[in-house]
């Protein structure tokens, strides 16, 4: 996949942003030097990009993340090196933004610099199997709330429709109509569909572009 300097992932909480962000950072690090992942999730202290810290180190990916993430301190806070995301233009960054509009407020702080530089994708991660985004209309509603909160308009849609471990190929294929409808209503491209590794081979000739996900954040 081709990346702009900043790849911003937003969506309803539980839509799969963190898993996609981690995988995209791996993908990006295979293509370029000087890659970072920024975990700006101030909403959910349970599943964080930081959980994959060791794998980032092994790939030379810089982790920009609150000092308090995964530390048992229930404190929504921003990382001290937040501004390096927009200041250091030699760096390519995947941004993992917290869920819903409440999570997107954190991104608002970088709005002016991101828009001024204009080298970003702002992607809405959608999952039709999540309870509050079962159809295009409700998904668009969440999208608008996020845009309103962070002040950055979306540039594309990522279809991450899944039922966790129970997902089969038909679930993913069946979700395409929904994802295309979201894209059409939003007047944006459907940039990607994402699937777990085990479904990738079965679907790679049927869906394009298809992005392979190695699951990272999973509870016991």
């Amino acid at each position: 996949m081709h990346y702009k300097r900043l790849t911003i992932l937003c969506g309803h909480y539980g839509s799969g942003k963190t898993n996609i962000a981690v995988n995209m950072a791996f993908d990006l690090a295979a293509q370029r030097e000087n890659v970072a992942i920024a975990d700006l999730d101030i909403v959910n202290p349970y599943f964080r990009s930081k959980d994959s810290e060791d794998e980032f180190k092994a790939r030379g990916i810089r982790l920009i993340c609150s000092d308090f993430a995964s530390s048992n301190v229930d404190l929504p806070s921003m990382p001290a090196d937040l501004y390096s995301i927009t200041d250091d233009k030699s760096m390519s960054v995947v941004l993992d933004i917290g869920g819903d509009d409440r999570g997107a407020y954190a991104l608002g702080r970088l709005r002016d610099a991101i828009k001024a530089e204009n080298d970003y994708e702002m992607l809405m991660v959608v999952n039709k199997f999540r309870p509050l985004t079962p159809d295009a209309e409700s998904t668009i509603e969440v999208m608008r709330e996020i845009e309103w909160a962070c002040g950055i308009p979306f540039t594309g849609i990522i279809n991450n429709s899944n039922l966790a471990g129970e997902t089969d190929a038909d679930d993913v294929l069946g979700s395409l109509t929904y994802a295309e409808e979201v894209a059409k209503l939003a007047n944006l491209p459907l940039v990607l569909t994402t699937v777990e590794e085990k479904l990738y081979d079965e679907l790679k000739d049927k869906i394009s572009p298809l992005f392979r996900l190695k699951l990272q954040a999973r509870p016991v």
Partner: protein, 354 residues
């Protein structure tokens, strides 16, 4: 079958509560249960229900008292420190014989503790949670689907017996995502509540909901009656799941997330030729004494697997009437035992009895 959706345990509780006819929710945010309040905040205004973020947990539980008095299905949710704050309200609800559903998505304690999963409020919930002689019906789900099912069950039991029911979950159960079916949930309609304060319409005497009773003879009588009701519940409403217990030498006792871990350990032990089994209490109060008593006839030892310093183990010892040794396999403070730790505990006990 209706389509499945991918839900967090917390969301499943909220969705199931609405499905069960709960149109009034009062809460206060606390990790790891905040998604319940978030879901209610989004959905309740769209369906004409009440979502109210109270100024504190204490305010929220007293709002629950108000709605319960009016005979409507009502819920509040919190996590461990917040449930302690609700303690007074829980006792008042019991003293007034009011039905309500309380959700505790536990985190490590004591004190403010941490935000990671725990089961250390077992004592607090199974022994009432506040002051005075009383019980709550305590339900312990072990999957997201069960979070939904037991929420519905909790409302029904609460109404049937005019008492509070509690969903005792933990951070893992609240946060984990699994496919779940909400549309398929069966809900029995709420029973008539002739005691509710719904207005006399000048056609009946006033109903009074109150927990103050200054005449000791009368207060004693109220306690006696309440405990007669508890006896019926113990006889009729106990729920548990047995897994490979029939021929087991070593029987594990575990609920919620600990039961999922334990089930894996039982499978591993069986592969090694160790006859292990699992009793998973689904109602923590009333505690399922019968299967433990029966298992104590053939099992040689019991292991209580818990995310705390050993709380349910006391009920296991009581239920087995101390006929067999009961040991503890545990983690605390937000840590979760893994199947390997439980398997080791099984092996150790097996070495002792072989």
């Amino acid at each position: 079958m209706a389509d499945k959706i991918l839900m967090k345990g917390n969301e499943a509780i909220a969705a199931a509560a609405i499905k069960a006819g709960c149109m009034h929710y009062f809460g206060y945010p606390i990790t790891p249960q905040t998604e319940i309040a978030a879901y209610m905040a989004k959905v309740m205004p769209k369906i004409g229900g009440t979502f109210l973020q109270a100024e504190s947990e204490i305010a929220a539980i007293n709002m629950v008292y108000g709605v319960a008095s009016a005979g409507k299905r009502v819920m509040t949710s919190s996590s461990s420190p917040g449930v302690s704050l609700k303690g007074e309200g829980l006792s008042y609800l019991a003293g007034s014989d009011l039905p309500a559903l309380i959700v505790n998505v536990q985190r490590g304690g004591p004190g403010l503790g941490g935000i990671q999963p725990s089961q250390s409020d077992y004592f607090q919930s199974t022994r009432g949670g506040g002051h005075g002689d009383y019980h709550m019906i305590v339900l312990a789900p072990a999957s997201v689907q069960e979070m939904a099912e037991l929420t519905v069950k909790g409302f029904e039991l609460a109404d049937t017996y005019r008492m509070t029911a509690m969903i005792l979950a933990d951070g893992t159960m609240g946060q984990m995502m699994e496919p779940v079916s909400i549309d398929d949930l069966k809900v029995n309609p709420a029973p008539e509540k002739p005691w509710a304060t719904t207005g006399t319409k000048m056609a009946r005497e006033h109903n009074i909901v109150n927990s103050l009773s200054l005449v000791p003879e009368e207060l004693e009588e109220l306690n006696f009656k309440r405990y007669d009701r508890y006896k019926v519940i113990e006889e009729n409403e106990t729920m548990y799941e047995e897994y490979m217990v029939e021929d087991a030498d070593i029987v594990l006792a575990a609920f919620g997330i600990a039961a999922r871990v334990s089930k894996n350990a039982v499978d591993e032990a069986r592969k090694l030729g160790i006859k292990a089994g699992l009793i998973r209490p689904i109602t923590l109060w009333p505690f399922p004494k019968a299967p433990f008593k029966a298992a104590a006839e053939h099992a040689k030892a019991f292991i209580s697997v818990e995310l705390n310093m050993g709380q349910m183990i006391e009920d296991v010892i009581l239920a087995t009437e101390s006929k067999r040794p009961v040991t503890l396999c545990n983690r605390a403070g937000g840590m979760i035992p893994d199947p390997a730790q439980v398997l080791n505990a099984i092996k150790e006990v097996n070495g002792g009895i072989a």
